[in-house]
């Protein structure tokens, strides 16, 4: 964060040359000495300094000697100067640091053996390095029992070393301002905003940023030691932002249990950030209600079965229905939480094996409208990283603070550190208005009219009018936007269909990039992978010839299939004979009377006995995103790799289930998943002539990308190969993906996806900060927090505090 901040400053300022520990280095003027040292590999210790937060100069650990300056100086508050000569290690410095640690330890309890931070504590590390473990203080230590401030935040006051990182990250970073400092000097204490407890967004940023074990989390405290866990960096499975979360797993009765989530791996698009869900809501995976065995309904009751029995039953039932009623009597519902590979496989299974286009998912945003409006234009979508760097942002609809916490963090950080301009049009006074250059509160449901107004349609102003809005403010915003370059336009599901087209046309004229906000972890992936009755992966219409037809779709009907609501109607009419639901709960989501499905053979793959699963004939217990590999695409189109962290005995992943069912139906699995040395087609070895078109294009692609053929039909990476080969925009760096980077896909090479979006089918999830659909219902942490806030007055916004980095 600070890095890019520095780079930005560098544009305006010349470089200066200085000497540190005899090394000559050149850095941009304005760089802090501590950062300059870091850039050349010299570590200057510090507790209070934190990149991206305001300077504190409280801990005195970063003291260095600078020539011509009489006393030791704090490297964290000293900007570099031309010709500066600094020393970071000397006996004098060592002594100073040792004394500081001695002071810090004067009242610090030596309860390291039971402290959560033990083993990953900055104070422990420093003491180890500078050696001040023997104390000269004879006085009694001030003890105070641990306090619980909220369901997730605990405070152990004597452990606190008063670095104020928590106070700053909560205020400046989160714009929550729930932590403060009371009293002064050695009597200072960190205090919560409600005297003895916290009322906040429960993000846990304060806990992760704490250098010692003063702030600990309810989810993890006293559970284990850091070195007893394996740490796996994977992608959060809650909202659509795609934060990287590092899960600490430990052996348990049920397999590998996730005991902690944090952001110690700061390499993700979220940098320092995680919200409550990414940090604590992994616990749905450990919920005792989780299914561990396939269930088959007999005489109205679920009976546990073996996997073989379940797969055999499903395969034979599909074949039976296909033979008696044909492909159009089968429907498939996909998920917003399964991986891209599983989604792609599912739609391929539906189209290739079941022979139907009756496939849909819970749509939370009109991605097809964006794809069709962009019509293959390059560099027109923004990544999550762009939101942190863009000079200007226009946000229409949505409430990112609640629904897209990382996006909100990126916006706030950009405004705070880069002075980005933020324009907001919303029907409610959303919290981000506090960062906005201009905010207009428009009439509910008038987001489309607002876009019309932007496109110089003055008549639309009447539709936008609200009591909180003046005509001047509206016009001023329109005028100001005209002169913004490098604009990123972010819009929520309020804008759909033709509104999106209008917005895109307007934005493209300004050279803007777009982000369409969908609600779940892989909503964008589900859309990109073609979980639509009328669209193939990459938003290609089923009716036209595409590269998919050429490769595997030869026998699939070109007429669009039934969408989710039409599937329900078909079930009502008795025409839907089988329904295959993967990781979705349409019965609850669309408020369907379970009786409607009584004449349909329903197969559900899920972790829990949801409303939909309860009305199923076969339920397969499956792994969640934390328990498997694959890729996710966040709402911006950034693709990241999932890494298997947890393990839950008895479950299998969705990918394997789909392949097994297909195999059971007699399908040649090679046609479904490109695995094995043979590739997907026989290579006749001819470069010309009648057989030349028959070369194994998959093998050619693999060779071209220096990749090996995959050896197992259950390897999702084999599917990723095909996705990267065939889905427009997904030919991204595999090396980047494998090393944990986020790779931005572009909605390119998409043609003919015109107006197929069906905006009326978009239904936002309306999840808030503490809810997360089915996952949230089974997360004990989220439920405890919800329970607590239910008893409090709603939506009391904490006043904005003083942010030195914005209002200096």
């Amino acid at each position: 964060m600070a890095g890019s901040f520095m780079r930005r400053i560098a544009v305006f300022m010349a470089d200066v040359t200085l000497t540190v520990d005899g090394k000559k280095l050149t850095v941009p003027a304005g760089t802090l000495l501590i950062e300059a040292c870091k850039s050349t590999g010299i570590e200057v210790p510090s507790f209070c300094y934190y990149p991206g937060l305001s300077l504190q100069g409280a801990c005195r650990m970063c003291l260095v000697e600078i020539e011509k300056m009489p006393k030791l100086q704090t490297a964290c508050t000293t900007p570099v100067a031309e010709g500066m000569v600094a020393t970071t290690e000397s006996d004098k410095i060592k002594q100073a640091r040792k004394s500081m640690i001695e002071m810090l330890l004067a009242n610090h309890p030596l309860d390291c053996p039971v402290c959560d931070a033990g083993g990953e504590c900055e104070l422990q590390d420093m003491t180890f390095k500078y050696g001040a473990a023997e104390s000269k203080f004879m006085d009694m230590k001030n003890h105070r029992d641990e306090q619980q401030w909220s369901p997730v935040v605990y405070f152990d006051r004597p452990r606190c070393i008063l670095c104020y990182r928590c106070v700053r990250v909560c205020g400046e970073g989160m714009d929550v301002w729930a932590l403060g400092v009371q009293n002064r000097g050695s009597g200072s204490i960190i205090a919560p905003n409600k005297e003895d407890h916290l009322e906040c967004e429960e993000c846990g940023m304060c806990i992760d940023i704490c250098p010692v074990g003063a702030l600990t989390s309810g989810a993890y405290r006293y559970k284990t030691r850091p070195w007893e866990m394996k740490h796996v960096g994977t992608v959060c499975t809650h909202c659509g932002d795609g934060c990287k979360t590092t899960l600490g797993v430990r052996r348990a009765d049920t397999g590998m249990q996730i005991v902690r989530g944090d952001n110690r791996d700061k390499s993700g698009i979220n940098g320092d950030f995680l919200c409550i869900k990414g940090r604590y809501a992994f616990d749905f995976a450990n919920n005792p209600e989780r299914l561990q065995q396939p269930l088959i309904k007999r005489d109205g009751k679920f009976v546990p079965s073996t996997w073989e029995q379940a797969f055999d039953l499903i395969a034979s039932k599909f074949q039976e229905v296909l033979a008696s009623h044909g492909p159009s009597s089968i429907g498939v519902v996909g998920s917003n939480h399964t991986s891209n590979e599983e989604n792609y496989l599912l739609q391929k299974f539906a189209r290739l094996v079941l022979g139907t286009n009756n496939i849909d998912h819970h749509r939370t945003a009109d991605f097809p409208a964006l794809a069709s409006a962009l019509a293959g234009k390059k560099d027109a979508t923004a990544s999550m990283r762009d939101v942190f760097n863009a000079p200007a942002i226009l946000l229409i609809g949505n409430n990112p603070t609640e629904q897209h916490p990382l996006l909100a963090w990126q916006i706030r950080s950009n405004v705070r550190l880069h002075r980005a301009k933020l324009y907001i049009a919303n029907s409610s006074p959303i919290k981000l208005r506090r960062q906005a250059t201009a905010f207009v509160q428009i009439a509910p449901g008038s987001e489309g009219a607002f876009v019309q107004f932007l496109t110089a349609n003055d008549a639309a102003a009447d539709a936008v009018a609200s009591p909180q809005l003046t005509r001047e403010a509206l016009s001023q915003m329109r005028d100001a936007l005209k002169s913004e370059s490098g604009l990123v336009i972010i819009f929520g599901s309020e804008l759909r269909g033709s509104d999106v087209t209008a917005l895109v046309n307007y934005g493209l004229s300004l050279g803007a990039k777009f982000i369409c906000l969908g609600d779940y972890a892989n909503s964008r992936g589900a859309a990109d992978m073609g979980l639509y009755p009328d669209m193939l992966p990459g938003y290609a219409p089923v009716s036209s010839a595409t590269r998919f037809h050429e490769h595997w779709l030869d026998e699939v009907p070109t007429a669009p299939g039934l969408n989710l609501l039409q599937l329900v109607d078909a079930a009502k009419a008795g025409n839907l004979k089988a329904l295959y639901v993967v990781g979705s709960n349409p019965v609850a989501r669309y408020n369907i009377d379970p009786f409607v499905l009584s004449k349909t053979f329903v197969i559900v793959q899920d972790m829990f006995l949801t409303e939909t699963a309860a009305s199923a004939d076969v339920v397969l217990p499956v792994a969640n995103a934390y328990e498997k590999g694959g890729t996710y695409t966040n709402t911006c189109g950034d693709v990241q790799m999932l890494k298997k962290a947890g393990e839950f005995s008895g479950v299998r992943n969705d990918f394997e289930c789909i392949v097994r069912i297909a195999a059971g139906m007699g399908c040649d699995v090679h046609k479904l998943v490109p695995f094995g040395g043979g590739g997907t087609r026989a290579d006749m070895g001819q470069s010309r002539g009648a057989q030349s078109g028959e070369s194994d294009q998959h093998a050619v692609w693999l060779a071209d990308h220096n990749l090996e053929p995959k050896m197992s039909p259950y390897d999702p990476v084999a599917m990723l190969d095909e996705i990267q080969r065939l889905v427009p925009g997904y030919d991204i760096s595999r090396l980047g993906l494998l090393s944990g980077h986020d790779e931005h896909t572009q909605l390119v090479q998409i043609t003919g996806a015109t107006g197929m979006g069906h905006p009326e089918l978009v239904m936002p999830a309306n999840d808030k900060l503490f809810t997360s659909g089915t996952l949230g219902r089974f997360s004990a942490t989220l439920n405890t927090v919800m329970e607590r806030y239910r008893t409090m007055p709603e939506d009391v916004e904490i006043a904005a505090g003083y942010d030195p980095m914005v209002r200096e």
Partner: protein, 160 residues
């Protein structure tokens, strides 16, 4: 909550003196304390709203400054300086004298709620040490006799 007309008027003028509302906080807190005797929860909430701060931030400030209190003290607040200059000129003995005279210890209030005694750091009256502050009034070049005179005078004034 509403303050006295005089204080309301003062706030209205003062708030215009600063570029940001929060800047009016410290002077306002002092005036509020003079009026209410101490910073009550209600007053903290009120001033937080008026300065667009959170209650927490106001509490941070209140707890930082020793001259701001959350509990009321006696009518007359005797703050005896025992910092270097005063100390050299016998402030320790004077403070002991005050304790004996009033029958209370440091940071205690007499049972009739009249006097509050407090040992404080430098009050900036070194040239006339030893010194004490009685509410906002300075008393300098102190001797035990001068202190008796001051306290007895105040007692007498109250009896009338």
């Amino acid at each position: 909550m509403k303050f006295s007309d005089q204080l309301e008027q003062r706030f209205a003028t003062m708030v215009t003196h600063y570029p940001t509302k929060r800047s009016v906080l410290v002077p306002m807190l002092l005036y509020i304390q003079d009026e209410l005797g101490a910073m009550t929860d209600e007053a903290i909430h009120e001033i937080a709203e008026r300065t667009e701060l959170s209650d927490l931030e106001v509490r941070n400030v209140v707890s930082y400054y020793s001259m701001l209190r959350t509990r009321p003290v006696g009518k007359y607040n005797l703050q005896v300086c025992t910092n270097v200059s005063c100390l050299l000129r016998g402030a320790d003995d004077l403070f002991e004298h005050c304790k004996k005279k009033l029958g209370v210890g440091n940071k205690q209030t007499t049972s009739d709620g009249m006097f509050h005694l407090e040992e404080v750091e430098c009050i900036g009256a070194c040239s006339w040490a030893p010194a004490l502050m009685m509410n906002y009034e300075f008393h300098e070049n102190l001797t035990p006799a001068k202190i008796d005179e001051l306290i007895d005078g105040l007692k007498k004034k109250e009896q009338q």
